[in-house]
């Protein structure tokens, strides 16, 4: 067997030029899944990735900051335009799958029905997607996790005491030893992320991988994409080295993720007569609640997420008030303490009880209501992308009700004190006190700590070319040989963690593309 073909942009001696059957921009959930399927169909696939190809089994220091700088975009805190929300995205081979917490959910029925009713998407019902979900679940060993750590067990205890709907999270792991360092890149290779599954599989079938090259533009000729042009980057994947890469193929799959995929199409002048490109970018923004428990929680160890609460996701109907799902969010000291917004003695007292800290996260779904239109991707003068995501009353209502629910759950699980992750909020000693305090809490940014590990949308699927960018197979409405297969194509947030949805949609779209290419040759 020949060695895998990998071109590292930081080591280019000259410009790189490659030709193949399909270029795939991005190696995350969408791109790598597509690459494996297309390479399996006998096509010569050229994978392009801005990040590096790191072996997290050998490379992991299990220190947080160096992991964030190596594996994530903008050190895991890509700010929205007004700085209110930090967007967390992987920038490495495997994309966000390399650093996610493995939580795997099928797309909720409510979301799929809304897509059908509001966006005219046919063929994406729960039954129609079931075979795609099943194939991915087998491929990535997605199974319920039987061994919740204390952080998750406390969530289950609180939810059970309150009679809330909750369940066990399924995870894409194989040989997991429950260490709890998923967010730093699995040191065991147990997480079935794309860097250890689909990418090596595609390489084994003759695909090429170009790393540390930033896709700058799609070269359009005669209404088709003729090539993808990229800039080679230095070791940190930050500064262009001056070397270039040009990848040519008759078909191009864009899978650079929300924000970057629409930005690439915008920079390239891809036709957008409806003005939809970059619009409808959703974050399912996350807010946090921190509790001190009487016994040790040791939040830094054990699978970070193994229990979910869906009591509030759809409680007011799909189109009602902002709903949210709730999960545990225990992690190592940098992530945990970065949610604590005090200083001095106050911070020191909290930090010295870190072993007792219990953290919950709520993910507030967006895109299902007229007051929740999502954000808009803009290009800076240098062509880089920034997301303008304004926050309104509808959103803040979701923050307040989720702060209340998380506090109620934590007190029901035995918390001594609960403090929303907000620099304006004090610690509360009972739920009665929290109810009054959170009810009156002034919600404003950036005092409310908000981030998002689920950026989605910007190249939305839809039946109508005037109101969407691609169809349900990711085919671009106006450029015949361009397909988008990643988180950017979903027309709303999901109400759950997105990875499994993205694998399934990419597998479905790539299989259709392989058939389309075979039909032409």
């Amino acid at each position: 067997m020949s060695a895998p073909e990998i071109h590292d942009g930081s080591a280019f001696a000259g410009d790189l030029s490659l030709e193949g059957d399909v270029v795939v921009v991005g190696t995350g959930a969408g791109g790598a899944t597509a690459a494996e399927i297309l390479a399996g169909a006998g096509l010569r696939v050229l994978m392009l990735e801005e990040g590096a190809y790191r072996d997290t089994r050998r490379d992991a220091t299990l220190r947080e900051l160096p992991s964030f700088t190596r594996l994530y975009r903008e050190g895991a805190v890509r700010p929205t335009k007004d700085g209110a929300i930090a967007v967390v995205q992987g920038r490495t081979v495997g994309g966000s799958t390399t650093v996610n917490w493995t939580s795997s959910f099928r797309t909720p029925r409510q979301t799929l029905e809304h897509w059908r009713d509001a966006h005219g998407l046919e063929g994406l019902g729960p039954d129609e997607l079931a075979p795609w979900f099943e194939a991915i679940e087998r491929r990535l060993h997605i199974e319920p996790w039987p061994d919740p750590n204390p952080n998750n067990a406390l969530l289950a205890r609180g939810a059970a005491a309150l009679g809330w709907s909750h369940g066990a999270i399924r995870r894409n792991v194989h040989g997991c030893r429950n260490l709890g360092y998923c967010g730093l890149g699995c040191p065991l290779g147990a997480k079935q992320s794309m860097d250890v599954t689909a990418v090596p599989a595609a390489l084994g079938r003759g695909a090429a991988l170009v790393t540390r090259v930033r896709a700058e533009r799609l070269v359009l000729e005669g209404g088709r994409v003729a090539a993808v042009d990229g800039a080679a980057l230095d070791e940190r994947c930050v500064r262009p080295t001056g070397r270039r890469a040009r990848l040519r193929a008759p078909w191009v799959v864009v899978a650079a993720g929300a924000i970057e995929s629409p930005a690439l199409l915008m920079r390239s002048g891809v036709p957008d007569p409806g003005g939809r490109l970059g619009r409808g970018t959703f974050l399912q923004a996350h807010n946090y609640s921190m509790a001190l428990m009487p016994g040790p929680v040791d939040p830094f160890y054990g699978a970070p997420q193994s229990v979910y609460v869906d009591q509030f996701t759809w409680r007011d109907g799909v189109g009602g008030r902002a709903g949210f799902n709730m999960e545990a969010a225990g992690a190592q000291p940098v992530v945990t303490m970065n949610q604590y917004k005090g200083i001095g003695t106050e911070l020191a007292e909290f930090a010295r009880r870190l072993r007792h800290v219990h953290t919950l996260v709520s993910q507030i779904r967006d895109g299902f209501h007229e007051e929740s239109p999502g954000g808009r991707v803009e290009l800076r003068s240098d062509g880089s992308a920034v997301l303008d995501y304004p926050l309104g009353e509808y959103f803040w209502d979701g923050v307040r009700s989720s702060y209340l629910a998380m506090a109620e759950c934590q007190f029901a699980a035995g918390a001594e004190r609960v403090q929303p992750a907000c620099s304006d909020a004090p610690a509360y000693r009972s739920f009665a006190e929290a109810r009054v305090g959170i009810g009156a809490l002034r919600l404003r940014s950036p005092s409310v700590f908000l981030n998002s590990t689920h950026p989605l949308g910007g190249c939305a699927m839809g039946a109508d070319p005037r109101t969407s960018v691609v169809d349900a197979f990711g085919r671009h409405h106006h450029v015949e040989n361009l397909v988008v297969l990643d988180g950017s194509i979903v027309p709303t947030s999901l109400g759950v963690n997105p990875s499994l949805t993205l694998y399934a949609l990419a597998a479905r779209g790539a299989t259709a593309l392989a058939g389309r290419i075979a039909g032409r040759s």
């Binding site: 992991a60 220091t61 299990l62 220190r63 947080e64 900051l65 160096p66 964030f68 700088t69 190596r70 903008e74 050190g75 700010p79 007004d82 700085g83 260490l179 360092y181 040191p187 940190r236 930050v238 500064r239 830094f300 160890y301 190592q332 000291p333 940098v334 303490m337 970065n338 604590y340 917004k341 200083i343 001095g344 003695t345 911070l347 020191a348 930090a351 010295r352 009880r353 870190l354 072993r355 800076r380 240098d382 880089s384 920034v386 620099s423 304006d424 404003r444 940014s445 950036p446 005092s447």
Partner: protein, 184 residues
């Protein structure tokens, strides 16, 4: 001190943090900083102004968690090196934004208004730095709250990433790898 003081300073604070003005002022007043000798090794991304400001802010944010004596300087240097490595991984537009913000906060008139002293950040009384941070945290002005969020967060992430910080907060370290307990 506190809230009212920051509010009364709002005109200058807001005007001063407008990007291009900040860059221009930073250049024009650069001599005010150059009188101080650079302290540390060359940084990849952390500007001299950023280093001065964080050297003042980190001890106030971390309070009693920072060690005393000579270990304190070493801890501070390790934290600053972590911030530098972190900033160097950001995209160039964000690196510029951070650098502009630091330059503006280090302009002598801005410094004097925020801290109530003409001394450099590093030499300012801890009480003045703390009063500034507390008023920025609660401020009704978005810009002041963003400054608090940036400085508090950089101090926190820089310190808690240090293995030296872990013992006091009860984190035994990663179970495997070079920072595991008992690893060489």
């Amino acid at each position: 001190m506190g809230r009212d003081l920051l509010v009364s300073r709002r005109g200058l604070l807001q005007a001063g943090l407008i990007g291009s003005a900040a860059v221009w002022c930073g250049g024009a007043l650069g001599c005010a900083r150059s009188a101080r000798a650079p302290r540390a090794a060359a940084r990849a991304a952390l500007s001299p102004a950023g280093e001065e400001i964080l050297a003042a802010v980190i001890p106030v944010v971390l309070g009693p968690l920072l060690p005393a004596g000579p270990a304190r300087e070493r801890a501070l240097d390790a934290g600053l090196a972590s911030v530098d490595d972190y900033l160097a991984s950001l995209s160039l537009p964000l690196q510029r934004e951070a650098s502009d913000a630091f330059d503006t906060l280090d302009l002598p008139p801005v410094r004097a208004l925020l801290l109530g002293t003409w001394q450099p950040w590093r030499d300012a009384p801890a009480g003045a730095v703390e009063a500034f941070l507390r008023s920025a945290r609660q401020s009704r002005f978005l810009l002041a709250r963003r400054i608090y969020a940036l400085l508090q967060s950089l101090a926190v992430v820089a310190w808690f990433d240090q293995p030296e910080a872990w013992r006091e907060i009860g984190y035994p370290g990663p179970p495997i790898g070079p920072h595991a307990p008992g690893a060489a």
